[in-house]
Amino acid sequence: MKPLANQPNQSSQIPATPASEVPNYDSTQSDVRYQSLVSQLNPHFLFNSLATLESLIYSDQRLAVKFLSQLTRVYRYLLSTRSTPLVPLSDELNFIKDYADLLQTRFGKGLTVLIDVPPQYLERKLVPAVLQILVENATRHNITDPDSPLTISIKSIDNHLIIENNLQKKQILEPKRNEALQSLTDLYAYFSSVPMVVEQTPETFRVTLPLL
């Protein structure tokens, strides 16, 4: 059998498009683009989370309640920021902590998400749900097994937010969501003259976002 999905999503061939070459989007165009990006939240995430919740209701009611609150907050955030072009980093980080916690409850020791952002950056802005898209992308394309865990780190250096993970690709189904990174790159080009940069080495995958 041939690999079912071999399109490299986290691949080196995604150059950040220089801002000067991006056509001037009017805001309607950008909205359309953005809506389609957000609506790509993986249904796998929802249904696997519900299956996890079902299990927790039997085994650990306390954790079930916590899990449910986090799931609720994640979806509420995604809904409430749908028409917001930019959000403060502090909001986005609170959201991604919930999201990462949900994933960690599901994957156990197979996933670690480290967040290290100094307070001076917390009021800077970024595109809502961008961290969720990048974290989901990392877990979708890489092995999240306790034997070889995935570590995603979110840190800020020099007015940039860096999202990095160890690269250990797995065979995946559903390669159709591959355009997410390109859409994000285009979207950042619309908001900033400093491009979003995607880099890959044999060991790591890194996205650098300008903090706006």
Partner: protein, 253 residues
């Protein structure tokens, strides 16, 4: 029913185990495997389970990958959160496709499908098991004596002394010590009815043999079996390819 679960999310696997315990308490979960890697190792070291529950996208790859390494014959129930790979699943022994969180009714239906399938696929064994274990059969007392004819006289002989029955216009009865008589019955079917199936086996249209009378047996390339009997009246008995597996199960109990 021995079940293997391949599911990368531990909590979801636990829930499936709970549901199986509720719905089918006789289920034995052999193992819960969380990755393609561990599943591959498991199939290298273990015989196939009766039934396999399997997620498709696992933490280290796609479970379909296993079929590149193993010729897995057991039925599979796929369980997945959301996707459209049902067609692929059914190409690899998938008998059902469940969506997570798994609905109890759906799981019950899937297990019933498995049971129906198993019934049809394993008729010979089932039939034999029924014969041997059926309460009606278990309690049934088989005759100990059989009246046979010898030079116009009726002679009662012990059934346990009979090595074989064979049909050659009339039904001959051969004993372990080489005596030959004629049975009162007209057909081998009638004879078969009064014999304990644990001790006697219908090898074909013309013979019924006692397990005690078998000296040895060997197979040929076509899958037929040839029995060598201890009695000289009926030295070699042939068993067809179709009946050979049933015979083997009968003799190897």
């Amino acid at each position: 029913m021995k079940v293997l679960i391949v599911e990368d999310e531990i909590l979801i696997a636990e829930q499936l185990q709970r549901m199986l315990k509720d719905i089918a308490p006789q289920t034995e979960v052999l193992d819960v495997l969380h990755s393609v890697k561990t599943a591959r190792r498991w199939f290298m070291q273990n015989p196939e389970p009766d039934l396999l529950f399997m997620d498709i996208q696992l933490s280290d790859g796609i479970s379909f990958d296993l079929f590149n390494y193993f010729d897995i014959k057991c039925p599979i129930i796929f369980a997945t959160a959301y996707d459209e790979y049902a067609i692929k699943a059914f190409k690899v022994n998938g008998i059902d496709y469940l969506l997570k969180p798994i609905d109890e009714e759906d799981l019950i239906r899937a297990l019933e499908k498995y049971k129906a399938l198993k019934k049809n696929a394993q008729m010979p064994t089932e039939l034999l098991q029924t014969l041997v274990n059926h309460p009606a059969q278990k309690g049934k007392l088989y005759k100990e004596k059989l009246i046979v004819q010898h030079r116009n006289a009726s002679i009662p002989i012990s059934i346990s002394d009979i090595a074989a029955f064979y049909l050659d216009q009339v039904i001959y009865v051969v004993t372990h010590d080489g005596q030959k008589y004629i049975a009162e019955q007209n057909t081998l079917d009638e004879v078969e009815d009064i014999l304990n199936p644990i001790e006697f086996f219908r090898t074909g249209r013309r013979q019924i043999i006692n397990q005690q009378a078998i000296e040895s047996y060997k197979g040929d390339a076509a899958g037929k079996l040839y029995l060598k009997l201890k009695t000289n009246h009926l030295s070699e008995v042939e068993i067809s390819r179709e009946k050979a597996p049933v015979f083997k199960r009968w003799i190897d109990r």
